[in-house]
Amino acid sequence: MAAITQPTVPNTRPQDQRSFLEIWGPRILIYLVLGSTSLIMLFPFIYMVTTSLKTATDVFRSPPRLLPFTPINAFYEGQELPLYEVTMEDGSVVQMVNTGQNERYGFFTTPDLINVDTPRDSAITVRVPLDSATDTGTTQDVGGEAFDVYSVPMEDGSTQELLLAFRGGLSRLVDPNNPEIVAFENPLALPTVERIEFRWSNYEAVLTLRNLDRSLVNTTIVTFAVTFGQVVTSLLGGYAFSRMKFRGQTAVFLVYLGTIMIPFVVLIIPLYQIMVLIGWQDRLVALIVPWIFTAYGTFLMRQFFMSIPKDLEEAATLDGLSRLGILMRVFVPLSGPAIATQSIITFLYAWNSFVWPLIIIGDSPIENHVLTLSLITLRNAAASEPNIVLTGAAVAILPPLILFVLAQRYFIEGIANTGLK
């Protein structure tokens, strides 16, 4: 805590005698904390985007990797085969393809190295093709288990009597550029040669094959209509509340204040019934028209209009402007920030809304779904394809994020101000 408040004293003043370290030490600490927190905040989004660019097989890798990898193939004898990284005996790493030809190998070791319970986990001293070793026909008993004894040719040309721990098939791998370099390995245990590749085609697939293009269009239309409608009604209502006196004004204002207290769940059942009655069930209009009224937005505008000096309005009245003219010519141009803030809040609300669409158009044919609903459908249909599901999530999440980056100022200032009032 001591670290936090120190920098509040401006360090440019002459009386500030603190050293460079005293100023920057705490700051670096703060930056470290803030930076690691930002990583936590950003990570799910980064994960979403990188996963949306992966292949289906790449997603299910454990341990997980962040970046999308794709195996590199090479041509060998007319076939396109995946490349593996093979560590040669001299320590060099060669990229090889699996020819698919198997050879039986014997894995030999000494009696003291053998793992009796699971021979496959034994420390192996040498492995050679089974044919090159000769079975001595004798067995040796280690810890109650009998192991065959082989005479195994060693690298230096000598032979040695060793126990056969286990047998196994090894694949023949070949360097496609240099076919005389050959290795025998188990390809499942080898790292594949991969490069980072972004599969943009996931987006194409999600948009066209999974119907998210329709949902995107629907969401956009609904969001723009609701935002436009709310801003217009709020401008008019906010002006009436802030600049006019009329009978019933206080009562309506109090009623509006009260509506903010009412949670939406109270309205959801009758509103659903009303939509059914007038035939708006499963229709996009049910997501637009009932949402044009906003007590919250009306207040926001009222609060903002209150801060506009009365003189401006009086001058306009003298110029012969009507009430609507004053609103359009004087107030609207001055309330850019307020309109921006409200548009953004409404935009987010409409774009992200889920419960109401679920109830009112959740059962409709998929053409009328908005993005949030389509995401649920997509998740259920592509339960085993997280890359596809997260591509859908990206389609739903990225447009507001881009808007945020563009209009960040209005977002944060606007929301910070609403909290204070």
Binding site: M1, A2, I4, P7, T8, R27, I30, L34, S38, I40, M41, P44, Y47, M48, S62, P63, P64, N218, I221, A240, M244, K245, T259, P263, F264, V265, V266, L267, I269, P270, L271, Q273, I274, L277, I278, W280, R283, L284, I288, V289, P290, W291, F293, T298, L327, L348, F354, L358, L371, I376, R379, G392, A393, A396, P400, I412, I415, A416, G419, L420
Partner: protein, 558 residues
């Protein structure tokens, strides 16, 4: 009123322009028509299964409107300005409702579906809007004296207008309106549409007749504000009446009925509330198997007192369990979403460069749709390929490397009943921390600096400064953050729905989920309405308590 009377006296016999007489005739027609409609509506036996209350209520409201409309006529004859305002507002409300109804009956609203279906076939037309906007923007930057400014602006607006018309023409929306399949008549010129349009137009015309006759009625500027204010409020208010007030009343009514969307709703008094809230207690020896008590009460929970268990049973055990889950969720959410937000806000309040960047980054999660976020976390939480367990394993490895024998917990985030709620809370907290931070930071920046400096001079350390000065001054902001977090927490639904899908285990469900299941899966809508009102009362009580607490802590500050 006194002024209008004087005006009348001065003029002697009032002279009525023909338009005003016609408007008065219209008021009579509307009055009689509405009254007739009211009697018709009032007599409807079963109004879409909603029971007799709804038609009776609507009938009374319509009747009152009709009477009001008739009452205005004699006062209009005597040129009473107050009643002119009433008539004027009535007509403009008629216009508002008429426009909405025209949109509905003509198929303009239902045609939005067609618009959405076809709009991307000619998506390139949408380019007209940015192009037009850029032109208008350029014209705004041009020199005032330059005559080209006007031309550029007009071209820009024209481009946007043409784009709009072209989109409407190509989208099939207009064709839909013309064919009007929604009305089932297959024609644009069908009687309901024509009648609605005609009535709506007459409402508008009569309204403007009243509007223009201010001088005749001796209207003052203040009196003019009376109707102008209502006209400005009108678009807002019509929607409020139709889509807020009406459902609200209906919801309250339905909570006293056995409404189930299929058969007729009958008034059953407080039965839904009784069914929802009734509790029963019984003492049984410890360890006795769960008992279902008499009167269809089912065990919810039990406490051990001495050798006995006190069993709490309820008629709707699901409600109590989900309520308990909701409270647990809220308490966890408050801890996870506000304490870190406080810490972050304190850090961000340091006057160092780059703060705005961090603030923006923290805010990002609150912008994303809950549904999408849940999809991401679902895979982050995956026990095998998810990053969270991967990191925990890595951390465990580090601890083991330090010589501590720790076993990998391998948490099943989304299936272990003990962890599930925490999983949701972590995700939800991740989403709202940034929002809370921004608001708390704004509050912190409002704390007067001289106060803090004075306390520093007085020798207060950071903790005392935080506890004694910053926290009390932040009272209202903290109140706002706590209340918004609580209210959203009490209504949590999407998070659970998307992470877990439709399930029946109460341990992971919230009250809204319970309401959703009873209302929209079992169609027990009267009961679900009662649940909604109980939830509202709970939220209201919490808010009031919160308000009291925050006020008393503010009093302490003085």
């Amino acid at each position: 009123m006194a002024t209008t009377a004087r005006v009348e006296m001065a003029r002697g016999e009032p002279k009525h322009p023909v338009s005003l007489l016609l408007a008065m005739v219209w008021m009579v027609i509307i009055g009689i028509g509405t009254l007739f409609l009211a009697t018709q509506v009032f007599q409807i036996e079963a109004f879409f299964n909603l029971g007799t209350f709804v038609p009776q209520f609507l009938g009374i409201v319509l009747g009152l409107v009709g009477i009001l409309s008739l009452v205005t006529v004699p006062f209009l004859w005597t040129l009473n300005n107050n009643w002119r305002i009433v008539a004027l507002i009535m007509n403009f409300f008629g216009l508002g409702f008429g426009i909405l109804y025209t949109g509905h009956v003509s198929g303009m609203f239902l045609g939005i579906d067609t618009l959405a279906l076809n709009i991307y076939r000619n998506a390139w037309l949408l380019l007209g809007f940015p192009i037009g906007y850029v032109l208008v923007w350029i014209s705004g930057r041009m020199d005032d004296l330059n005559s080209a400014k006007d031309i550029v602006q007009k071209i820009g607006l024209a481009v946007m207008g043409v784009a709009l018309i072209a989109i409407l023409l190509t989208s099939g929306w207009l064709q839909y309106v013309a064919e009007n399949p929604g009305a089932g008549l297959g024609q644009i010129f069908n009687l309901p549409t024509i009648a609605t349009v005609a009535v709506t137009i007459i409402f508008g015309v009569v309204g403007s007749i009243f509007m223009r006759n201010g001088e005749l009625f001796g209207e003052t500027i203040l009196e003019r504000e009376a109707w102008q204010g209502w006209l400005f409020l009108l678009p807002n208010f019509v929607n409020f009446l139709l889509f807020f007030a009406m459902p609200l009343i209906l919801s309250f009514y339905l909570s006293f009925t056995d409404y189930n969307a299929i058969s007729r709703a009958d008034w059953i008094g407080f039965d839904n509330y009784r069914r929802l809230l009734s509790l029963d207690f019984e003492t049984v020896p410890t360890g006795t198997a769960p008992t279902d008590l008499a009167d269809r009460h089912f065990e919810v929970s039990r406490f051990t007192v001495g050798a006995n268990d006190i069993v709490i049973a309820a008629e709707s055990p699901g409600f109590w369990r989900t309520l308990a889950t909701t409270f647990r969720y809220c308490i966890l959410l408050l801890t996870f979403a506000i304490v870190p937000a406080f810490a972050l806000a304190m850090l961000l309040n340091a006057k160092i460069p780059g703060i705005k960047f961090f603030r923006a980054v923290y805010f990002l999660p609150s912008i994303a749709a809950v549904v999408g976020v849940a999809m991401i976390w679902q895979w982050l939480y995956n026990p095998i390929i998810g990053f969270i367990n991967y990191w925990i394993s890595g951390f465990v490895d580090v601890l083991n490397g330090l010589g501590l024998a720790v076993s990998d917990p391998n948490i099943q985030w989304l299936t272990d009943e003990n962890v599930m709620l925490l999983s949701v809370v972590i995700m939800a907290a991740w989403q709202v921390i940034g929002f809370n931070t921004v608001i708390l930071l704004a509050g912190l920046q409002g704390v007067p600096k001289d106060l803090i400096e004075a306390s520093t001079v007085d020798g207060a350390n950071s903790w005392i400064r935080f506890r004694r000065i910053i926290l009390p001054l932040l009272g209202p902001t903290t109140f706002f953050v706590v209340v918004t977090t609580l209210i959203s927490g009490m209504q949590a639904f999407s998070e659970m729905y998307t992470l877990f899908g439709v399930s029946t285990s109460d341990a992971r469900l919230t009250v809204v989920y319970y309401l959703y299941l009873s209302g929209f899966q079992q169609f027990d809508m009267g009961f679900a309405s009662a649940t909604a009102w109980v939830l509202f009362v709970v939220i209201f009580i919490i808010t009031v308590i919160q308000f009291r607490v925050s006020r008393s802590s503010e009093a302490y500050r003085d």
